[in-house]
């Protein structure tokens, strides 16, 4: 029954958005994590999403000759990358973490961008929850066939 796949697909969307939410909260929490060494400064992270094929999920090779169609198997988090944006160097000579020139390196986290990401992730999560609950209603209905 292909309705069962809807649960997997919506579930993959929900977990992907959760990963995104995790990186957002990590970025915001570390927005002020300073360091005197640019190598040790926290850098903003973000997940990379990739569409997943149904065949990959079921573990069976996909048969193109059959009338079966690959409707897709949701979304997959391929990995988490660090942002290449330049770090913020602030001149704070009295800061205990200041380097020899009096600069403190702040993370390259853009808090406004992270907030926008957070709202987008929570909306997308909500939509996937709605999809799942609709699929649940549809399935429950099928179970009542003939009653």
């Amino acid at each position: 029954m292909s309705l069962l796949n809807v649960f997997d697909i919506a579930g993959s969307g929900m977990s992907a958005q959760t990963v995104r939410m995790n990186t957002v909260s990590s970025n915001i929490a570390n927005a002020e994590s300073v360091s005197s060494n640019t190598d040790q400064t926290y850098r903003a992270r973000e997940p990379i999403f990739k569409a997943q094929l149904q065949a990959a999920m079921s573990g069976q090779p996909f048969d193109f000759s059959a009338k079966q169609l690959d409707m897709g198997g949701g979304v997959q988090v391929q990995g988490i990358v660090e942002s290449d944006a330049p770090l913020q160097m602030r001149y704070e000579p009295h800061h205990p973490m200041a380097d020899d020139n009096g600069y403190v390196s702040y993370p390259n986290v853009n808090v406004v961008e992270e907030m926008a990401n957070m709202i987008s992730a929570s909306r997308a999560f909500q939509t996937n929850v709605d999809v799942m609950s609709s699929a649940k209603t549809m399935m429950q209905q099928v179970l009542s066939l003939g009653r």
Binding site: A10, A51, V75, T127, N128, S134, A135, V142
Partner: protein, 134 residues
Amino acid sequence: MAISIDKHIGLYQHALELRSQRANVLANNIANADTPGYKARDIDFQQMLKVRMGETADIVPVESTSANHFIAIPQADTITGLKYRNPTQPAIDGNTVDAQAEKTEFARNTMEYQAAFEFLNGKVKSLMSAIRGD
């Protein structure tokens, strides 16, 4: 006289299955709303139902002037019925999912699924009452 249950409930069975497959495709679009480069897809319901019911999909008639010509057969995408959506405003990362449109289609598909189910349920119920004889 042979009673064919298949013929009795045939259409709604296929409709229900197609509706659930379409729910799959739409859920996949929604799940990939933030995936760069993802292209939204949908099922051509009418054509798919025709194929399922054993009718051939609409084939463009091609005149053949030689017996050696191939007969026009439906292409792969007319068999599967999976097509790409025509985006009104694609995102800069190549994603063509319009979350609102997909949500609307999903809700509509759910309602149509429920309608098909009601018809199927009615058919099954009428069979049951015929069997019981009340």
